[in-house]
């Protein structure tokens, strides 16, 4: 069974939602993963999108490209205001969130603001959008990203979205009493964080990927679990469902 890295990401992310009741998902891979999970491992999953849509369904061939358009409202059950939608997360209603970023560091901090300094940026990126809120407010958050050395940096240039900050208890000390980055799902493997130090740790590999592959694509010293289970490859059914959602192959 052949599949693209994006398909792998979507399938693996979907599996992490097994049994989950609510997910805060952005457009692209996260929304596809959530929709796939709903059809497989998480039948009671409520999908929430930051533009203000609860319980939408994807219309194949008309996948949304922003979180704030009619395509995300398709067959929704509730269309709350944007602020209210984030407040559902702040109150504690939303279990899992998805985020990404241009840079991620060993404590799971994400940068989607600037390469270089904030005031004189080398590259000005679009900015947080809801990423900061999702990572600060959901019960747990999954980073879903391609695994590239320029992306996995020792320290992000700017913390747009707080992971474990400088590790240890620093996240909680900053007032972030809830939530955490629970997993980093990449096209190479699955990573987590050491319970004490909160440093990133390789916890699983995708088929055909070696530890060395991951280390080479990571710009900082990675903790590595003794046991590294190999991910079950995407099943035919998972891929078929996924491709049935993204018929135009817009994101996969």
């Amino acid at each position: 069974m052949s599949y693209s890295p994006a398909e792998l990401l979507a399938v693996i992310a979907a599996r992490q939602l097994a049994g989950v009741k609510s997910v805060f998902a952005g457009v692209g891979i996260p929304l596809l993963a959530a929709a796939l999970a709903q059809k497989t491992h998480a039948p009671d999953l409520t999908i929430v999108v930051e533009g203000g849509s609860i319980g939408p369904e994807l219309l194949p061939g008309r996948l949304p490209i922003s979180t704030n358009e009619m395509r995300v409202a398709h067959r929704a059950r509730v269309l709350p205001g944007i602020t209210d939608t984030f407040l559902f997360a702040q109150r504690g209603f939303l279990e899992v969130g998805f985020v990404g970023g241009a840079q991620v560091d060993r404590f799971g901090n994400l940068n989607s603001s600037v390469v270089g300094s904030y005031d004189k940026p080398q590259v000005r990126l679009p900015g947080s959008g809801g990423a900061n809120d999702i990572i600060s407010l959901c019960h747990r958050v999954m980073v879903v990203t391609m695994h590239e050395r320029r992306r996995f940096v020792p320290r992000v240039d700017f913390i747009t979205s707080p992971g474990f900050l400088s590790g240890g208890t620093s996240r909680r000390d900053a007032g972030l009493l809830f939530g955490r980055v629970s997993q980093v799902v990449t096209n190479l493997g699955i990573l987590g964080f050491d319970e004490e130090s909160k440093a990133m740790r390789l916890e699983g590999l995708h088929p055909g990927v070696s530890v060395q592959d991951v280390v080479e694509m990571t710009g900082f010293d990675l903790l590595i679990n003794d046991e590294l289970p190999i991910t079950e490859p995407p099943e035919e059914e998972e891929l078929a469902l996924l491709r049935g959602l993204d018929t135009e192959r817009r994101f996969i």
Binding site: E69, L79, T83, S113, Y118, S128, G130, S136, S161
Partner: protein
């Protein structure tokens, strides 16, 4: 106005003697409320319900030194940058949309220091408008805590007097002018929005002056027949203009979908060439097309109807 200064914000509102009667006017007169240096808050979100007709008229009137505040900026932000009308952008995100990548115009302006980007988290910016709408100086939140965003704007932290925990205080934003596009309103400015409400209601209530375009001006009877659908009360509105397709080629829930083909064209012919490319686009679509009907005719016969059908299909009425 300093962030969070609810006292000054309320004084301005009280001093204004907002008219109680009919708010109908022209695009030209409505846009005339905007002054150089104003903080202008824009309704809708990204390419949904953007008040493009009003924004174009503000550009035609050649305002300078504006601050634009919008939760997610789409290409209308590039227009104001290319027109050298904006000094500061207050937002949580600025691009055109995923398929079109980073905004070259935005990058150049911010990286070159011509425009300041004051970045907030999406919720934090929403809370800024909501605090303004509530007439208070701030709202508490967990948003932005621990992140470097805390150092960008004027948010503060404090020890919560009830729990002892550290909390963020997000200061109110009181825009000088709100620019909004809605589905329908009566002549007194009572506005109804279908589908996504985005942040429009908070923006309207937080702003000193509120300018609204509506797809349709309807009778007072119609508004009274479904008062629970009215989102913005007339007493919050200063100027109202009927502009069908007033957000096009951005979308308006249930009425028309965004014209992504036009986005492709805009990026290919305009935006990808940087500010100069955008200025050429503006010449054609904005400066030389002062009438909104003429502007719409540039999109080609059948496009509006097709986008209307697409919208109906998406909301289940197709």
């Amino acid at each position: 106005m300093e962030p969070g200064d609810f006292v000054e914000a309320r004084r301005r509102l009280e001093a204004k003697a907002r008219p109680g009667g009919v708010k109908l006017t022209s695009l030209t007169e409505a846009a005339g409320w905007v002054k150089d240096g104003d903080v202008v808050a824009i309704g809708g979100c990204c390419y949904s319900r953007t008040p493009l007709a009003l924004l174009m008229e503000i550009l035609r009137q050649e305002r300078r030194g504006l601050t634009l505040a919008r939760n997610l900026m789409c290409y209308e932000g590039e227009w104001f940058i290319a027109a050298q009308a904006v000094e500061t952008v207050v937002s949580s995100w600025f691009a055109i949309g995923l398929p079109w990548g980073l905004s070259k115009v935005f990058r150049q302006a911010v990286e070159g220091g011509q425009v300041r980007y004051e970045e907030w988290s999406h919720l934090a910016l929403g809370l800024r408008f909501r605090a303004g709408a509530m007439g208070v100086s701030f709202l508490p939140s967990l948003s932005m805590l621990g992140s470097d965003l805390m150092g960008v704007g004027s948010a503060k932290t404090m020890e919560c007097p009830f729990t002892g925990e550290t909390i963020a205080l997000i200061p109110a934003l009181f825009p000088d002018v709100a620019v909004l596009h809605v589905h329908r309103a009566d002549r007194l400015g009572n506005c109804q929005i279908d589908g996504y409400p985005h942040m429009d209601v908070d923006i309207a209530l937080a702003s000193t002056t509120v300018l609204v375009t509506a797809e349709e001006i309807v009778s007072e009877e119609q508004i009274r027949s479904q008062p629970d659908r009215t989102k913005i009360p007339g007493f919050a509105v200063d100027a109202l203009v009927e502009v069908p397709y007033g957000a096009f080629p951005h979308e308006c829930y249930g009425l028309y979908e965004a014209d992504f083909d036009h986005f492709d064209k805009y990026v290919a012919e305009g935006s990808s060439q940087g500010a100069e490319g955008v200025r050429e686009y503006l010449d054609r679509y904005v400066y030389n097309t002062p009438d909104h009907k003429d502007y719409l005719s540039l999109f080609g016969a059948g496009t509006l109807d097709r986008k209307a059908r697409d919208a109906q299909q998406l909301v289940g009425r197709g």
